[in-house]
C-alpha cells in the first residue's frame, strides 16, 4: 500500500513542475547551426550562381534524388561564374534523406542544407524542388541557435577548417534571427 503511494507521489510532484511543452506551430524551437534541413543554392555577391553544374552532388547522393543538367555559359546568357551552369537543378525532397553529402561534395559551396524542416506538401510533384525554388530564400525561416557555442569546434579557437566545416565556412546567415 505504502509502495503504491510512493509511486503516486512522484507523479503528484510533477504537477508543480514547469511544463516542458513547446507550443509548436506558434513557437518554433531554434535549430542548432549544424542542423540539416531544406537545401539552398547560393549566389555570388554579384548575382551569378555559384553552381557550375558539375553534378558532383548528384554523384554523392546516396538516395539519387538530385538531377543536374548542365549547359554552357554564353556571353549573352551568363548564369554562373564558371564555364557551365546548371540548366536544370532538381531535388526530389520525397527521396532525400538529409544526409548532407551534397554539401560535402560541392567544391564551390553552392549548395548547403538550411534550417527548415516543414516540407510537407499535398502532392508528390510539389516535393520536386526546382532551381528557382532552391535559389530563393524560404518564405518562413526557422530560427537557429548562435553559431559560436554550437558550431565552432571545441578544440582550438583558431580552428583550421576541416573537411566537414561547411556551415561555418559558407553559411553565416544560419545565425540570423
Amino acid at each position: 500500500m505504502l509502495d503504491s503511494v510512493k509511486g503516486f507521489s512522484t507523479t503528484f510532484r510533477h504537477l508543480f513542475h514547469k511544463p516542458v511543452t513547446q507550443q509548436y506551430p506558434e513557437y518554433k524551437r531554434p535549430v542548432y547551426p549544424r542542423f540539416r534541413g531544406r537545401h539552398q543554392l547560393h549566389r555570388h555577391d554579384n548575382g551569378l550562381e555559384k553552381c557550375v553544374g558539375c553534378s558532383l552532388c548528384a554523384a554523392a547522393c546516396p538516395s539519387d534524388c538530385i538531377r543536374v543538367v548542365p549547359a554552357e555559359n554564353t556571353p549573352d546568357n551568363r548564369v554562373s561564374a564558371g564555364e557551365r551552369h546548371a540548366r536544370i537543378y532538381e531535388i526530389n525532397m520525397a527521396r532525400c534523406i538529409f544526409c548532407g553529402y551534397c554539401e560535402l561534395a560541392c567544391p564551390f559551396d553552392a549548395i548547403t542544407l538550411g534550417n527548415d524542416f516543414e516540407l510537407s506538401e499535398i502532392s508528390r510533384e510539389a516535393l520536386v524542388y526546382t532551381k528557382g525554388m532552391l535559389l530563393e530564400k524560404p518564405a518562413l525561416r526557422t530560427p537557429s541557435q548562435a553559431i559560436d557555442p554550437y558550431d565552432v569546434p571545441a578544440q582550438d579557437e583558431e580552428h583550421v577548417l576541416g573537411m566537414y566545416d561547411i556551415v561555418t565556412a559558407t553559411n553565416p546567415e544560419g545565425a540570423e534571427s
Binding site: D3, S4, K6, G7, S9, T10, T11, V20, V31, Y32, P33, R34, F35, R36, L56, A59, A60, P62, I97, F98, C99, G100, Y101, L104, A105, P107, D109, L113, D148, P149, Y150, D151, V152, P153, A154, Q155, H159, V160, L161, G162, M163, Y164, D165, I166, A169
Partner: protein, 417 residues
Amino acid sequence: MAATEETKVWPQQDILQPVPSELWPDSDNPDLLEINLGPNHPSTHGVLRVVTTLDGEVVVGVKCEVGYVHTGIEKNIEQKTYWKAIPYVPRMDYLSFFSGETAFCMATEKALELEVPRRAEWLRVIFQELARIHSHLVFLGTGSVDLGGIALLFYCFRARDEVLDLFEMACGARMHPRYCQVGGVAEDLPKGFDRRCREMITFMRDQIEQYYELIGANPIWLARTKGVGVLSPDFAIRMGMTGPNLRASGVPYDLRSANGGYGGYRDLDFQPIVEQGGDVHARFRIRIEEMRQSLDLIEKALDGLPEGPVMTDDRKIALPPRHELHTSMESLIHHFKLVTEGFEVPAGEVYAPIESARGEFGFHLISDGSARPWRVRLHGPAFVLLQSFAKLCEGVYLADLIAILASIDPVLGDVDR
C-alpha cells in the same frame, strides 16, 4: 596423430539440436482459439505478427511472422560505395542508430587496416552511449505502456528529447546522424557540447531516480514482471542471445569488455553489469542500470577526452579539407575521385562486432577489391532475440506474452532489415 595433441571433445548432442523458434500446441483440441496479434498492434514494437494459439487465456502456441518492414538495406549497401552506404546503416536499428554506423565504419576500417585517431574513438564512445540511453529510454517508456502505466512513457520521452538534442547539436540530425565516418568522425564537437552534455547527465541521473520511485516498489508492476518469462542462462547462451537480455540472466558477457573491448572502451576500464533472475523484472532493471552506467561512461569520456584530430590523415580515405579545394588542384582531383569512385578496399573478409543497445551488432563484409562491398551481411541482435520468444511464452497468460515481448526489446527494422 601426435601424442601431445589432445583429443577434441565435441559438445553433447543435445546442444547441437536446434531449439524450435515456434511453439505448436500439443493437442488438436477444437476449442483452442487462434488469434493474430499484429502486424499493426501497438505492443508489438513495430510490425511483427504473432499468431497465438490460446487455451482459455493460456498461450499454447506462438508463431512469429517477420518481414513486414523488409527494406533490403543489405542489398542496397552492395550498390553503393562505402562512403555512400554509411547513411543507410542506422536506418536498420533505428533506436540505437549510432551503433549501426559505428559497426559499419569499424568493419570497413578493419578491412582497410586503418588507424583511427584516439579522439575520434572516444567521441564514438560518447555517441554510442548516448544512443544506448536513447534506445533504453524508448524501451522503458513503451514497455511500461504495455504493462499499463502511461506516466513513465511521458517521462522517458521527455528525457529522450534531451539526448536527441545533443545529437542535433553535434551531428546535425536528431536521428540517423551519419556522424561516424570511415577513419574517424565527421566533425569535432561544438564548443557548447561539453556543458550541455554534463547538464543532460545530471538531469538523467535525477530522472532515473524517479523511474525507480515510480516502478521500483510498485506492487502491480512487481506482480506483472517478477517471475514472468524466466530465461535460464544456459538457454540464453544456447539461443545465441547477447546484450542486456543475456546479462539479465546472469551471464557477464559484453563485447565492450569481452576480448579486451573495442575502440575507446579499451581505455575506459569497462565492467559489464549483471542482473540475476532472468525474468521480465530483471530485464527492465538491467536496462535502467545500464543507462546509469552509460552516463558514467560518458562523463568519464568527457573528462579524459584526448586532444588531436578527429579524422585520419590518410588522403586516400578521407576527403581533403574544405579550404584546400579552392587552392590546391591535387586536392580537388582527390575530392572528385573520392566522391565519385570512392576508395578501394583490399579483397578479403572481415567481421567487426560491437555492442549495440540490443546486443552483438556485427557486420560481415566481403570485399572483392573494388570500391563497393561485394557482400554485406549483418548479424542483428534483435532477430536472434526473437528466436527465443516462443519458448519463453510457453504456458503464460496472454497479457504476460505482451510483457515478455516488451522485455526482450526487438526492433523490427533490425529483424527484417
